[in-house]
């Protein structure tokens, strides 16, 4: 199979990791919402999956030492191929296959310079903002339970 190279002005590994991580955290509703908002729906063919399997989650002895196997987690993954020849991959915790298939489509659309800004504004930015808000709320609720020690004045007599 040969495909012509589409416009994938390489945005770098860090940017791709960020996109993949946010697509993994996106909910099915967030992804279908963005799909519905897409002006022209791309044709794509499934290459693999979506399929559910396991990833062995590893920890480190003592928190920072040698690795050990903590236990597995369910993971669903998918790979799709756009008509343009760009392959999109997605992996996410859980068993939501429709979500992960859409995430793979958006991973491919993100690699295409034509559609990257749409993916950024319709999914990545909102998901990032939602996670930041959830983290902020969690951090503030947790901070409210912080202990402020004060020492009682001891009377010796």
């Amino acid at each position: 199979m040969t495909v012509s190279a589409p416009d994938t002005s390489s945005p770098g590994t860090e940017a791709r990791k960020r996109a993949a991580g946010l697509l993994a955290r996106a909910s099915r509703e967030e992804l279908t919402g963005a799909w519905d908002a897409l002006a022209t729906k791309p044709d794509y063919t499934p290459v693999r999956g979506p399929e559910t399997g396991l990833v062995m989650v590893r920890g480190r002895i003592g928190g920072g030492g040698g690795p050990f196997n903590l236990g597995e987690a369910t993971v669903t993954r998918a790979t799709v191929l756009l008509a343009s020849g760009i392959a999109g991959h997605a992996h996410a915790l859980g068993t939501d296959k429709p979500k992960v298939r859409l995430a793979a489509v958006f991973d491919a659309l993100w690699q295409d310079g034509e559609t990257r800004s749409f993916v950024e504004s319709a999914i990545l930015a909102p998901v990032e903002a939602r996670i930041a808000e959830e983290d902020r709320q969690q951090a503030e609720e947790t901070a409210a339970t912080r202990v402020d020690f004060f020492t009682m004045v001891r009377g010796d007599d």
């Binding site: 590994t13 990791k17 993949a20 062995m56 989650v57 915790l93 901070a143 409210a144 912080r146």
Partner: protein
């Protein structure tokens, strides 16, 4: 010895149907949903995930529902489901130093970077039954406060600066961690395999063993250096991308136990450590695991092995509740033929002894008469 017998089929079918009915319970009451179990019985779900060794809240909740709340049955169900799935690979080791913290306490330092945050704990509750929960009363939203800037430094790192505590527990870099779900267990085993076994071990069993070390059976002078609960990122190296991507976050509980150690022929006086890491929120389990991990390091640290918690083969072989329940509960399966054989044997032994007694007692009785 087992002999195939037929004839139970109709009874088994009816029993399954009855079980389904009893599981559902009174039909006029609404059925409990998976979402409700995940949200409102979260710690039951966490225990099932930890001991099934499979992180998936929805599936664990399904197992709790299907098992009528029998935790070991739920763990069994999830373990069985796990075997039907292919393994895509192993994650990068999670970094608990970067945890999104929901609770973090230390019993060794009062003031430490990041502070002591209690989180949603049962500690300091009065353990009085709350009648307001008999009805569905509104619950206040949590209070909020500006978080402290900066990271929550590990307590072990604070102690490490003085050189009075041992390191994290290194393994050779090129050695992949052992996996007891893939290779048969062999003793003695590495600490990596022991921690895997303990992480999926029965909470009650580890709690009892941890308690036994405190009561003097392999005492190891523990302090809770730190407990932290929160979410960590799980990253997987994906071959088609050539780098690791985040799959999402999982919640874990980590316990760093710091143990006073007077030194031995193998190690100088210093603080040694036991480590606990568990899926979900479960500090009782994480603490017990850390106590047992430390106890099982007796050999490595040159201590005498005198107590059950220090006996690796005893602890690791009996920590798994699915294995344990399988072997204990198999006793209720038909053993008709074994028992008939035993019965014949006991009858014969009894008859022999009675015959012997008669021979022995015979002349005496005759004499008495």
């Amino acid at each position: 010895m087992y002999v195939a017998v037929k004839g139970g089929e109709a009874a088994i079918n009816a029993a399954h149907r009855l079980l389904a009915d009893r599981r559902r319970g009174e039909r006029s009451l609404p059925s409990v949903t998976i979402e409700q179990i995940v949200e409102q019985l979260a710690l039951a779900v966490d225990r099932v995930m930890a001991e099934a060794s499979l992180y998936d809240r929805a599936l664990a909740a399904l197992a709790v529902r299907q098992s009528r709340g029998d935790m070991i049955e739920a763990i069994f169900l999830l373990r069985a489901y796990r075997t039907t799935l292919p393994r895509f690979g192993s994650s990068e080791p999670i970094d608990t130093a970067k945890m999104h913290i929901a609770r973090r306490i230390s019993a060794t330092y009062k003031d430490l970077p990041g502070g002591q945050v209690l989180g949603p704990t049962f500690d300091y509750t009065h353990r009085l039954l709350d009648p307001s929960l008999l009805t569905d009363e509104d619950v206040d939203l949590p209070s909020r406060k500006e978080p402290l800037p900066g990271a929550s430094t590990r307590v072990s790192d604070i102690l490490a600066t003085e050189g009075l505590i041992e390191g994290d527990g290194e393994l050779p870099d090129d050695q992949p961690p052992g996996d007891l779900t893939r290779e048969p267990m062999e003793f003695p085993m590495g600490r990596d395999l022991r921690l895997q076994a303990l992480a999926r071990g029965d909470e009650g069993f580890l709690l009892a063993l941890g308690y036994s070390t405190q009561r003097g059976f392999g005492r190891n002078h523990p302090f809770v250096g730190e407990i932290r609960i929160g979410e960590v990122e799980v990253e997987l190296d994906v071959p088609e991308l050539g780098f690791a991507v985040s799959l999402g976050r999982v919640q874990v509980t980590e316990c760093q136990m710091v143990n006073q150690f007077k030194g031995s022929a193998k190690a100088p006086p210093q603080f040694t450590r036991g480590y606990g890491l568990v899926f979900g929120q479960s500090e009782r389990k994480a603490m017990s695991m850390a106590l047992v991990d430390r106890a099982l390091r007796a050999e490595e640290l040159g201590e005498d092995i005198t107590a059950p918690a220090q006996d690796e083969e005893f602890v690791i072989s009996h920590a798994d509740n699915v294995q344990a329940t399988g072997f204990v509960e198999h006793l209720k399966l038909p053993h008709y033929v074994d028992f008939q054989a035993e019965l014949a044997l006991v009858r014969k032994m009894r008859a022999d002894i009675e015959a012997a007694q008669k021979v022995k007692a015979g002349p005496l009785r005759d004499a008495a008469e």
